[in-house]
Symmetry: C2
Subunit: 276 residues, 2 copies
């Protein structure tokens, strides 16, 4: 029930048609009697810097979920960028502090790490390989670093992207060992596909699964189908793994906490979500 | 069910706590499966001109319901002001045309006129007295003029306000006879209280009810209680009348039509509204 006391979380991106967050958050808010609403707002790039600022001046603005194509530019608009967002090179959440300052954070990687921990695996002291150093790969690498991973391998077909990510990582985490230039999964405890490989029929696999340790935990970011060809091969190899939508639902509680709202479990959110 | 295809009607004003429109429109949209949402937006005056423009650049912005304190300034922001809004000196609705131009309209008076017509009374060729030449009085006078009233009496304790309204009216309706300076209801077919008199205990009545023709139709804008002291006296006098909330619900279909949405009756809207 939307009233004059309802607080808004703007879901800012363009185009809006594929947005999923309203159907995840709003059924939960309604069930819990939380007087907050996620509102899709189709904001184009040329309007975004001005709109974000003015949106947050609304007396009932609580937060923003930021998506394509605004995640990177948000870094330059907010007053404070959290380390994970700085390393990721993008923000997907913004909130207003009591003093009016806007703070940007990035939860794409947090969802991956939370899911891994919930499945009984560890990050601290482990070795991780992240294939793909774009937005989501950078976010996952940043969150693995925050969770205490000891060593990271980064690979991107555009080598400079991996090197840039390495530079940002070691700037914030000087003790972290980071290697770039190889997508060989041998010897890694955690292996993540953060490339779009698997979205299209006939894509090559992101790593050589024959060299993947069966003890490794594997993550996938591709959301187009639950079991991508990569995960199919990973499963045959005997590895534990996490599907793309796990990452999605694992990050929602992190957003709720960031916005100062009562939280719940990813499974509860998944059960109440009205995705079609 | 809010999704990425949902269109937005921004309800712009400050403060928002007393907003009623979300609880009137949204239950109707939900019942009818109309993929539109009225969203309260607590926009302060200093942010309003910029925010209104950027709100309407959202790809899913459909319209705006404008309320205090923005109704007057909206005239200067939109690209086209409809005659009724120009005479009223205020807009309470804005929509975007296909070419991007913003059009401002004013429906406060339309609600009064529609209610009167629904109750079987006429406006065309009649004589009307509007007491109070502020925002709502001006809007009612403008709508009565548009509906073909022959003669208008205007009264305001601040005489210049009535004279200004007279000037705007005859500029748009040169054939309309307009007199100012008297609140004597004798000889009028339609008499409207458009002052706040009746909101507070002990307020004087807006006109001398003893001089009110029992055949007159009387309108009231005060919403604090259904039967104000004025309407109580009017009823004792034997006049037909319309309460403040009738005007409110009568104008909703006019907004729906303005926004290009399927409409319904005021009674239906009143039955489904979830006002508390």
């Amino acid at each position: 029930m939307i009233t004059g006391t309802t607080k808004l979380i703007g879901h800012l991106g363009f185009p809006t048609e594929s947005f999923k967050s309203p159907m995840i958050y709003n059924p939960y808010f309604e069930r819990e009697g939380i007087d907050v609403l996620v509102v899709p707002m189709g904001c184009r790039s040329e309007d975004y810097p001005g709109f974000l600022k003015l949106f947050f001046r609304l007396s009932n603005a609580l937060g923003a979920l930021v998506t394509m194509p605004h995640k990177v530019v948000t870094l330059a608009i907010v007053d404070e960028v959290r380390p994970t967002a700085a390393i990721a090179g993008a923000c997907n959440a913004v909130r207003r502090e009591a003093d009016g300052r806007l703070v940007g954070e990035m939860f794409d990687g947090e969802g991956f790490v939370r899911g891994l921990l919930r499945k009984g695996r560890e990050v601290a002291g482990q070795r991780g390989l992240v294939v793909g150093a774009g937005g989501v790969g950078s976010a996952i690498a940043a969150s693995l670093a925050r969770a205490g991973i000891a060593e990271l391998g980064l690979f991107d077909s555009h080598a400079a992207a991996a090197d840039e990510l390495r530079r940002r990582l070691v700037g914030h985490y000087p003790a972290l060992r980071v290697a770039t230039g190889s997508n060989d999964p041998a010897g890694f405890d955690i292996v993540v596909n953060a490339t779009p490989l698997g979205m299209r029929h006939g894509d090559p696999l992101p790593v050589d699964v024959a060299r993947l340790p069966p003890s490794a935990f594997v993550g996938e970011v591709v959301l187009t189908h639950e079991i991508t060809p990569f995960l199919d091969a990973v499963r045959a190899r005997g590895c534990a793994f996490q599907i793309g939508t796990d990452m999605l639902f694992e990050q929602i509680p992190a957003y709720l906490e960031f916005f100062g709202l009562p939280s719940t479990t990813p499974d509860d959110l998944r059960a109440i979500a009205q995705l079609r």
